[in-house]
Each structure stands twice: as structure tokens, then as C-alpha cells.
Symmetry: C2
Subunit: 337 residues, 2 copies
Amino acid sequence: MATVDLKRLAKELNLAVSTVSRALRDSYEISAETKQRVFELARKLNYVPNPYASSLRKHKSKTIAVVIPEIANNFFALAINGIESIAQEKGYHVLIYLTHEQYARELSISRHLQSGRVDGLLVSLSGETNNYDHLQELKQTGVPIVFFDRICESLNSARVITNDFESGMKAADHLIERGCRRIAYLSISHNLSIANKRMDGYIRAHEKHGLPFDPKLVLQCSANDNDGNYKAILNLLKKKNRPDGIFASVEKLAILSYQACDELKLRIPEDVKVLGFSNLETAAWLNPSLTTITQPAFEIGKEAAALLFKTIEKKSMNFSEEKLVLNSTLIVRNSTK
Amino acid sequence: MATVDLKRLAKELNLAVSTVSRALRDSYEISAETKQRVFELARKLNYVPNPYASSLRKHKSKTIAVVIPEIANNFFALAINGIESIAQEKGYHVLIYLTHEQYARELSISRHLQSGRVDGLLVSLSGETNNYDHLQELKQTGVPIVFFDRICESLNSARVITNDFESGMKAADHLIERGCRRIAYLSISHNLSIANKRMDGYIRAHEKHGLPFDPKLVLQCSANDNDGNYKAILNLLKKKNRPDGIFASVEKLAILSYQACDELKLRIPEDVKVLGFSNLETAAWLNPSLTTITQPAFEIGKEAAALLFKTIEKKSMNFSEEKLVLNSTLIVRNSTK
């Protein structure tokens, strides 16, 4: 008996091969009646798709997705530009999904993506996420995932990050050298590796300078409660023994610090020095200009996308082992003068 | 013989009605085995979906797309938050596509969306776009489109905009009242209705005050050439008869004006007053703080999404006629003191 392939099905049904192929992929382009005819014959003849065709089918969307926590953050805006620079070269579309820092949304998006609408995924975790089963499941359906910046430490997956420990240390180092002795650390979420590594660096800088580390100066902010964060920063700055320096682990916490200092009539940098991780375009035009640790956001996006395409194009053997660390830069401005 | 409906199928299969319904809609939430059982019985009993259910099936992607020119712009970040607030209520996913202000990308995305992957579309045009056939075609495939902010005047389509003419007039009025006599208008693109309407308002304000309108003070910037725009603003400010006021039609041109004044050692507001359309979160913390015309970006996104869902849910009779105009606000700060 001849092999049952697409050609055979097409001939028996008097349909084009492409129609049969689309029907088997449940394409919207094919009518329900035709699909039923195709499925019935395929079943009757025990049609088995060949692995090559199947692998082609897997990569037919020509689309990758980027799942990020927010967009009102220049880091992600720039990273997406980096991702799109590669995707465009490859002729792929980029879909952007926002989790708004919520685990529930990340979960819902992951399930949505299981339907196979994309060929690969770039993920930066939400601040609430501390269970990674949804991403493990998605990986198991065969969708390659590259994490960038906010990675999952416990999931063995490809990743592109920056030298957060060293940068955290450099930031605290700088504040100490500028005379700060009580530096508050504003963490964005205790779930996120980036926040924890930046804090580890901050602690190490204290050790290096023989300064005590006061856990009361660590403020665990919430990834999605701006008002709550603002109040917490105000309270910290109202204390009798208030900090003389602020190290914000993310951009939005640096801006809230400016607002809180303004409200309390504390002068930056005279009363409080402020430094933040930031890709803010206006950092140099703030009053005072903001000292930042700036991540190579565009490069991170670009490298993460390049890594993903290596896998989509089957050019990577040990995909899950691929790890890339880029360096951030300290840019000294007037807020730490 | 009793009618074969979802209830009957569910009873015979010992499944919940919602499970049967989802299986028939080929939902990812239902296992392949269950789907097969449901389909087989449906076929056996000659189940005919009723037209209402069928219309529901057409909208099974449960996804809408947002096509915007850029994301490093707080207007779009906020508008997307507004869109997502409605989409989440409706249980829809939101895909974001970026055109990077390029017509070619907008075209490619429109064609991509013709494949029926979304139930509706929210569009803010690229600065390069001056031909709208791609959107007309997409509309004709039955995908409802709502334009927001950067609309297409010649396409009869639902839209949500702000009072750009009045805001442009208010902005120029304010600068004139603060003593400016030579106000430069920085347009983002002569293709965009928003830029042109804001300019019309600026011209009308001159008429109102009996001031001459000097076309040489209108700078046609490019939607995607930041460096070129920067040089053009520098050149304008270097002229002997340089402007004493700048009215930037979009946020990024206001920031470039700060940079150019800094470069040329021109003081804001003493030498040049600057005002810009902007939703910049840091506007109040800039040096000097920036006077803005601020659009209700979140509301624009929310209303545009609400309009789209009215159509998706067939609750709108005259969809293409729906037009909504929201008001922007002048927020006076130190850059026009």
C-alpha cells in the first residue's frame, strides 16, 4: 500500500495539497465542511504527518511574543526596540503582551500562548511571580523561551541579564564615597532576582567600606502599588534618623523619591543624595539631573532576540544553557553631588 | 425528536454545557480527547449551531490588536493602560504592534492582521502614512477598526480624539500672553491630522492677537529622525532672528528643545519659553518644569476600546459614525514663566 501523505489525501478528495495541509492545521481559511472531509479521510487512511512537515508547521506563525511587566518604563521601550531590530531582519512580527506586574495576567497570557500562536517567547517576569509552572508548561509544549533582565533563576532557560550584583555594589560604593552613611535601598520586589542581586551588591559595598548594614533601610516596595510606595518612601524620609542617600532599584522609585523630597522640602543632593537604575531619556534634564546606573537596554533586547532566533532556526544545540551577561554603566550627575 | 442543542450534547456526554461549548469553539482549555468526543457526537446527532452561537464563534480569538507608532512616549503607554482596563473586563487579550513611525511597517502589520488573528483593531497612525488603502482593505475583511488620536480623516471610521485645534490655540495664546512674539511651531509630521490641527489653532491664536504668522517659524520635523530634528531645532535657535517661544506638538520635540537650549546656553524661560504636548511623568521634575498640554491618554484608550467592544459585541448600529472628542488640559509650569 502506498504511503498516505498529503498528496494522496489531496488526490482522493480532489483538493489542492495546500488546502489539505491547511485543513489539517485547522486553518480558518478552510470551510468546516472541507475540514471534516479531510479529517475523516485522514483518520480512515491512518494518515501520519511526517516530522519535517510537522516541524515546519510549528514555525508557521512568523511571530514572536514579548511578555513584559509594563511599558511606561524606558528600559522596556528600548529593549523592545532592540528585539524588533532583529525580528525585522528575520521577517518576524513582534507581539507585545503586558502583565502589569501581575502574576494572574502572566499566567493568563502563558495559557493563551499555549495555543501555538507564536514561534518563540521573550519574557521579563512580573514582580508578583514566584511560581514558574506556567512557563515550564509553555516550554514543554515546545515553545522556546528566552528570559531577559527579570529572569527565573530556578528554571533552566536561556537568558540575557546585566551584571546586577556588580552594579548594585558600584552604586552603593559611589554613594558612600560621596559621604552617605545611611543609604536606603528601594527594592521593587523580593521575588525578582534583579532586585535581590542589586541589594546583595549594596550590602557588599557596606562590608567593603566597613559600614554596618541596617536592614531597616531596605524598603520592600510593591511592583504595582505606586501610591503605597510613595507613602512608604515619605515615611522613611520623615523618620528622625532618616537616610542621607537613596538607591532606587528601578526608575519609577527614583522619580517617587524626587517627589517625596519635594513634598518634605528635602534638598537633593544636599540633604539626600539619590541614585537609581534608569534608562530615563530625561535623566539629564531633571532638577537636579539624576545619577543613574544605566543598563544597555537596546543591546539586551537585541541579544535576547538573537538567542531566540538561533533556536527557532535550529542553530543552537544547548539552548537552555545559553546565558549572556552585559554590563551596566554608572552615569554620575548632580543628584549625588 | 428533541432539538439537538448544547444542553443535549452535554447531557449525553456527561459534560458541562460550557465544556461542550468550548470544545466546539476549539478552545485550548479543552483536551483533544474531549474535543473529539464532542465533535463525534455533534456530527452523529446532526447538531446545527444556532446563528447566535455561530456569531460568537466568529469572535473566538478573544484578542484585539493595538497598532501604535512608538512606546517610548507616555501618551501611548497610558492609552494602552486604558485599553487594557476595558479588555481585561471583557476577558480579551491585547496584542501591541509597533510601526516605529514607518508606513512600510504599518502596511506589513495590516496584512499580517488580515489573517484573522484578532477580533478588532485600535490604530494610531504612523507619521509617514499618507495612503490608507491597507486599512480600508482590513476594514473590508470585516475587522472593526477604531482610530485614536492619530486618525485618518479620509476614512469613514470610528474615532476617539482630543480637541487639538482648541488646545493648539490655547497653547499659543498662553505663550503670547507670556510675552512671546516669535513662536516656533514644531510639527511632528505634515501627514498627521493632530499636527495640522494643533498648528491651525496656533495660527488662529496669532490672528486673535493681531500678530503676523511667520511660516518660517514652522519646523516640519520628521517622525523618526531624532538626530535630524535635533539639528533642525539647533539651526532654528541659532538664527539671528531666533524664536522667543517654542510650541512642540509632541513630547519628544519638547525634550529636544531643552537639549538644544542647553547646548546653545539659552535659558528657559528667560530667553526662550517652551511648551509641549506631553504626558511625561517627569514634566514637573524637569529643569525647569515643563508647561504642557496634557491629553487624557488613559481615557482616550478606554473610550476607544469601549467603542470597539460595542461593535465586537454587535451593540453598535452605526459604528463608522461613532466619534468622540475629549478635552486636553493646559498645565502651566516654569518653562513659560
